[in-house]
C-alpha cells in the first residue's frame, strides 16, 4: 500500500519549472533514495513531501490525504505527526543541549520526556554527550543528534536531505546503520543524496533531471 503518492506534480518559479510533471509512489516501509544533479529539484520535492511547500500543480497523497490542498496550519499538524526531518546542515538550536534539542521535537509533538530523549541519544551512541551544546559536538555527532530528534516521535516517514553530505566515512556509516535499523522497524525512508554509496543502501533510487524523473533503479543487492 502506498504511503506517499505524487501525481503529476509541478513546481513553477516564474519561467523555471523546478519540478515538471513528476509522478512517484512510495510504499509504506520502503527505503527510497533520490539522486540527481544540483538544481534538478530534489530539495523542492522534499519540501513538498515534507508539507513545507505546495506544488503549483498536481496532487500529493500522504496516507491517502491530499496534502496539496491543505491549509498551512493543517500541514504543520501533518508534518509534526507523521514526518521526521533530517537536514544536511544539521540545524540544531544552538543554545540548547543535545538532549534538549531532542526534547524540542517532543515538545511540539506531544510531551517532553527526558528519559525517552536520552534513550534516543543512546541509540545514536551519544548518551554521554547529552548535556553538551551543539558547539561542543562534532559535525557527525550533531547529525546523529538530528537523527535521534527525527526518530523520537516515531514518525511514519523520515525525510533526509543529504544527511551525510557533511560527514566523513565513519559517521556516514553510523548514520546508514541507523537508517537500516529504522527500516527494519518499518519506518519509511526517503533520502536525497549525491553519494552513490548512500543510494546503494536504499531499495530503490529515483533519479531526477531538470525537474523530471529521468529513471528509477531497483537495488538488486539490497539486504545483502
Amino acid at each position: 500500500m502506498a504511503l506517499l503518492e505524487l501525481k503529476n506534480i509541478s513546481k513553477i518559479y516564474g519561467d523555471l519549472k523546478a519540478l515538471d510533471n513528476v509522478s512517484i509512489k512510495v510504499d509504506k516501509g520502503e527505503w527510497v533514495a533520490i539522486m540527481g544533479p544540483s538544481g534538478s529539484g530534489k530539495s523542492t520535492m522534499m519540501n513538498i513531501i515534507g508539507c513545507m511547500d505546495k506544488p503549483s500543480m498536481g496532487e500529493v497523497l500522504l496516507d491517502g490525504v491530499d496534502i496539496s490542498k491543505e491549509s498551512q496550519k493543517k500541514l504543520t499538524d501533518i508534518r509534526r505527526d507523521k514526518i521526521g526531518l533530517i537536514f544536511q546542515q544539521f540545524h540544531m538550536v544552538t543554545y540548547l543541549t543535545a538532549v534538549e534539542n531532542v526534547m524540542v521535537s517532543q515538545y511540539y509533538h506531544s510531551m517532553p520526556d527526558e528519559e525517552e530523549a536520552l534513550e534516543a541519544l543512546g541509540r545514536v551512541g551519544l548518551r554521554e554527550r547529552a548535556k553538551h551544546l551543539p558547539s561542543q559536538l562534532s559535525g557527525g555527532e550533531q547529525q546523529r543528534v538530528c537523527v535521534a530528534r527525527a526518530l523520537i516521535n516515531h514518525p511514519e516517514l523520515i525525510l533526509a536531505d543529504e544527511p551525510t553530505g557533511n560527514l566523513d566515512e565513519a559517521n556516514e556509516n553510523i548514520v546508514l546503520d541507523l537508517f537500516r535499523q529504522l527500516h527494519n522497524e518499518g519506518t519509511t525512508l526517503i533520502v536525497v543524496t549525491h553519494d552513490p554509496e548512500v543510494a546503494e543502501a536504499a531499495q530503490r533510487t529515483i533519479v531526477l533531471e531538470h525537474g523530471r524523473v529521468a529513471r528509477e533503479v531497483i537495488n538488486e543487492n539490497f539486504g545483502k
Partner: protein, 505 residues
C-alpha cells in the same frame, strides 16, 4: 517533564546562553523602567515637594509697619496670632540697620533675625558653615566674605551709629557735607532755630537762622544781620560768643577755649538772641556727638550665605544681638510662610489690617499665583519625558528583538519544520519578552527608587517615601512595554518559512 517546564527551560536557556544580545534588551528595559518609576515617583512627589518649596519660597506674606506705629516683637506676635497656627509654616522677623566695619572703613547692611524661622521661610538659603546660635555669632553673605576676605571662624568688629542710619550721606563723615540744625531759648525763653551746612572739612559753609520769634527789630536781627551771620562762615563748631567767658555748658569744646577762631561777636543789643544762636548750633553738634558714640562689638563668622540674591551682601545676626547693639526694639519686616491658598491669604491679610496693631500685611502674589502653573508645567514636563523615554525604550527593545529574530531565522525555521505552530512561536517570543520585561522591571523599579531619591535629595533637599504599589506597577508596565515591543518582531518570526532549513543557507 511538563510542556510548561520545557517552555520555561527553552526561554531561560535562550536568555541565559545568549547573554550579550539579551543584555542589551534587558538593559534598555531596565533603563526605561528606572526612568518610569523614578519619574512617576517624582511626578507624585512633586506637588508635595514643590508645594512645601513654594509655600516657603521667599515667603508668601510679608508684614510691615503701617507707617504710623513701629512694629515690635510684641505687635508681630499678636499679628501672627491671627493666622491659624497649623497653617503658619514659619515667620521670620527682620530688622535692617547700617553697620560699620571700622577696620575697613566700610559699611554694610546688617540684619537681625530669628534663624530658626529663616530656615522655614527661606529654605533656599545655602549656608556654608553653620547658622549663628550663640550671641555674637554672625552669618555673612558670600559677596561680603569675598570683599573682606572673611571665612567661617573669622572675627569681625562691627559698630553701629544711630545717626548713620542707612541713608545717602552715611558714607560721609558726620561732620562733613552734612547739615545740622538745633534750637535754643532766646529772649524771654522763646526758642529760635539755627541751621548750618558744613563743608567737607566740617567748616560752616552756610547758615540760616529763624529768629522770627524774637523781638522784632532787635532780637530778630540775628536772623537777618549779614555781618553777624557772615562771622560763622568758615568756622568749626562748637563756638562761643566773644566776651561771654565760655560757650554753653553743654559744649565740651575745651579746645575751643581762648581761640579767637572759635568766637563770634554778638549783634549789638541782641546778646541774648545771639547767644541763643550759638547755643542752638552747639546743641546741634553736641547731640550729633552723643549720637556718634559708637557701639562696637566683636563677632565671629559661623557661616557664609549663598542665595544668588541681594542677601549675599548682608550680615545676619540674631535679633537679640542686633537689639543690644542698636538699643532698639523695632522690626522692619516679617516674612511669613503660610500654607494657604490665595483666597485664605487675602483673608488673613485683611484680619491683620483690621486688628489695629499698626501692621499691614502684603501678599507676595507672584509666587502664590505661579505655584499652580509652575507645578502643572513641571508635571507635564515629567509626563512628557516619561512618554519619550518609554517610546525610546520600546524602539530599542523592538530593534533588539528584531535583530534577535533575524539572527534566529534558521532556528525559527527549524522549530516550524519540527512542527511548531505559529501560536507556539508567538508564545515563545512573547515568553522571552515578558521574562525580559519582568526582570528589567524589577531592576528598574529598584533603581528608579534610588534615582528618584537622588533627584529628590539633590533638587528638593528632602527624601521621598517609597510607594509600595510602584514596584508591581513598574514591573507590569515593563512587561507590557516589552510585550508590545515584541509584536513586530514576533510577526516577522511567524512569517519565517520553514522551507529555509532545507536550503543550504
Amino acid at each position: 517533564m511538563t510542556k510548561r517546564k520545557m517552555f520555561l527551560r527553552m526561554i531561560t536557556a535562550s536568555l541565559l546562553r545568549r547573554r550579550s544580545r539579551m543584555l542589551i534588551a534587558l538593559l534598555s528595559i531596565a533603563v526605561g523602567a528606572t526612568i518610569l518609576s523614578g519619574l512617576v515617583t517624582i511626578y507624585y512627589d512633586v506637588p508635595r515637594q514643590m508645594g512645601a518649596q513654594f509655600r516657603s519660597y521667599g515667603a508668601n506674606m510679608i508684614l510691615l509697619a503701617d507707617g504710623k506705629t513701629e512694629m515690635t516683637s510684641e505687635s508681630l506676635e499678636k499679628a501672627l496670632g491671627l493666622i491659624p497656627e497649623s497653617e503658619l509654616v514659619g515667620a521670620a522677623p527682620y530688622r535692617y540697620v547700617r553697620l560699620d566695619m571700622p577696620s575697613r572703613q566700610q559699611s554694610f547692611t546688617g540684619a537681625g533675625t530669628d534663624f530658626e524661622q529663616v530656615l522655614k521661610t527661606s529654605p533656599y538659603f545655602s549656608v556654608e558653615g553653620e547658622y549663628p546660635v550663640n550671641a555674637r555669632e554672625i552669618l555673612i553673605g558670600r559677596e561680603i566674605a569675598e570683599t573682606i576676605g572673611a571665612k567661617t571662624g573669622s572675627s569681625l568688629e562691627l559698630s553701629y551709629k544711630p545717626a548713620a542710619v542707612i541713608s545717602e550721606n552715611a558714607e560721609q563723615d558726620r561732620h562733613s557735607g552734612a547739615s545740622l540744625s538745633g534750637s535754643a531759648e532766646g529772649f524771654n525763653k522763646v526758642p529760635l532755630t539755627a541751621n548750618v551746612e558744613l563743608d567737607e572739612e566740617g567748616r560752616i559753609a552756610s547758615i540760616e537762622v529763624d529768629a522770627s520769634s524774637q523781638t522784632p527789630g532787635i532780637g530778630s536781627m540775628v536772623g537777618t544781620d549779614k555781618a553777624f551771620l557772615d562771622q560763622f562762615i568758615g568756622k568749626t563748631l562748637p563756638l562761643r560768643l566773644s566776651g561771654s567767658g565760655s560757650g554753653s555748658g553743654e559744649s565740651e569744646g575745651g579746645d575751643s577755649e581762648d581761640n579767637p577762631a572759635q568766637e563770634v561777636d554778638a549783634v549789638t543789643g541782641a546778646t541774648v538772641s545771639s547767644q541763643a544762636v550759638v547755643d542752638a548750633l552747639n546743641s546741634a553738634v553736641s547731640s550729633e556727638k552723643a549720637a556718634a558714640i559708637e557701639n562696637t562689638e566683636h563677632f565671629t563668622v559661623t557661616g557664609i550665605l549663598s542665595t544668588g540674591g541681594e542677601e549675599e551682601s548682608y550680615i545676619y545676626m540674631t535679633l537679640k544681638d542686633l537689639q543690644r547693639l542698636t538699643g532698639e526694639e523695632t522690626l522692619d519686616v516679617a516674612e511669613l510662610s503660610v500654607s494657604a491658598d490665595a483666597e485664605e491669604l487675602e483673608q488673613y491679610a485683611g484680619a491683620v489690617a483690621e486688628s489695629n496693631l499698626g501692621i499691614t500685611a502684603r501678599l507676595v502674589k507672584r509666587v502664590t499665583r505661579s505655584e499652580a502653573s509652575v507645578l502643572g508645567k513641571l508635571q507635564a514636563l515629567v509626563f512628557l519625558v516619561t512618554v519619550v523615554v518609554l517610546l525610546l525604550t520600546m524602539i530599542c527593545v523592538s530593534t533588539t528583538m528584531m535583530a534577535v529574530v533575524s539572527e534566529r531565522r534558521r532556528e525559527i525555521g527549524l522549530r516550524k519544520a519540527l512542527g511548531a505552530s505559529d501560536q507556539s512561536i508567538r508564545k515563545e517570543f512573547l515568553g522571552e519578552g515578558v521574562f525580559l520585561g519582568g526582570l528589567g522591571g524589577i531592576l528598574g523599579g529598584i533603581l528608579g527608587f534610588v534615582f528618584a531619591q537622588v533627584v529628590s535629595v539633590n533638587v528638593f533637599g528632602s527624601s521621598i517615601t517609597l510607594q509600595p504599589l510602584l514596584l508591581p506597577i513598574t514591573i507590569l508596565a515593563s512587561i507590557a512595554i516589552a510585550a508590545l515591543s515584541c509584536q513586530l518582531p514576533i510577526r516577522r518570526a511567524v512569517a519565517i518559512d520553514p522551507a529555509i532549513v532545507l536550503k543550504g543557507e
